[in-house]
């Protein structure tokens, strides 16, 4: 069946990209939590989460991001979100998440955004 996967890529500019795939619900949220916790443990606070291949998200999945964003930002980093399908964006949008998170079209835009913040 479907399942859920997180693939981690480390870009050369010290940014970590997490590519989500499949179905993010109360069953699989723990996997995302583990992946984000690993970033924190390794002091990788500049995180891009790519949603391109994510087919589904429930509030359990949304909650994971809420659980980490504060910690990440306090350490000078951020969680930026990219490449959401309309279906997924709809849920984020409905809950007003765009007010709290940077939601961008592409990973490049997210990386660019990190570079800008650096300069400031």
């Amino acid at each position: 069946m479907n399942g859920f996967e997180v693939a981690q890529h480390n870009s050369e500019d010290g940014i970590t990209i997490l590519r989500l795939k499949g179905f993010l619900d109360a069953h699989t949220a723990g996997d995302l939590e583990a992946a984000l916790q690993k970033c924190i443990d390794e002091k990788k606070f500049r995180i891009v989460v790519n949603f391109e291949e994510l087919n589904y998200i429930s509030s359990a999945g949304l909650g994971v991001f809420m659980g980490f964003i504060e910690d990440v930002r306090e350490n000078g980093g951020d969680i930026k979100m990219t490449s959401m399908t309309e279906k997924i964006f709809h849920v984020f949008d409905l809950l007003g998440f765009p007010a709290l998170y940077d939601i961008l079209k592409t990973d490049d835009e997210a990386v660019e955004r990190f570079a800008q913040t650096e300069k400031e």
Binding site: D25, H27, Y56, S58, S59, L62, G63, L94, L95
Partner: protein, 153 residues
């Protein structure tokens, strides 16, 4: 002639690894009803949230307990009932989350019932702790929610 009502029932162990089977069952029936893709997505999410609550709150992750999903396809509405025999709760005391405050405080949970209410046309709880706690959710069958090829009665 009496209008035809079709009923469906699914009973699975109460654990999060059943959510996928529950979602596929409900969307399978809802797709047959003729609901549009975006309505299917809403129904899927509402059912997931309600079932997750049973697993988490009603039974505290005890997978020997059953979760029961009942579907009724009536001429003008799709009715979903999710039943548990768990500890129950006071739905009237669950506040609608203030999304501004929610986001400001970066809370982790508390969105499930809000999403259910946003996704469905009717959401109603009936609670009898340890015996029969049930959430009843309704999606109307209208020209807006179903495919045009499906004739709405």
């Amino acid at each position: 002639m009496a209008k035809k009502v079709k009923t469906y029932q699914l009973k699975v162990p109460s654990s999060t690894d059943q959510l996928e089977i529950i979602r596929e069952f409900v969307t399978g029936v809802a797709r047959k009803v003729g609901f549009r893709e975006d309505e299917l997505n809403k129904i899927e999410l509402a059912v997931d949230e309600a079932s997750t609550n049973v697993v988490k709150h009603a039974y505290a992750y005890d997978d020997r307990k059953p979760i029961e999903i009942q579907l009724r396809v009536e001429p003008d509405r799709f009715v979903i009932q999710i039943t548990d025999k768990g500890k129950g709760f006071k739905p009237e005391q669950v506040k609608k989350p203030d999304m501004k405050e929610y986001l400001a405080k970066m809370r982790v949970g508390g969105l499930g019932i809000y999403l259910m209410k946003t996704m469905m046309d009717e959401v109603e709880f009936s609670i009898d702790p340890g015996r029969k706690n049930r959430v009843r959710m309704v999606k109307y069958i209208t020209p807006e929610t179903v495919h045009p090829t499906r004739k709405v009665s």
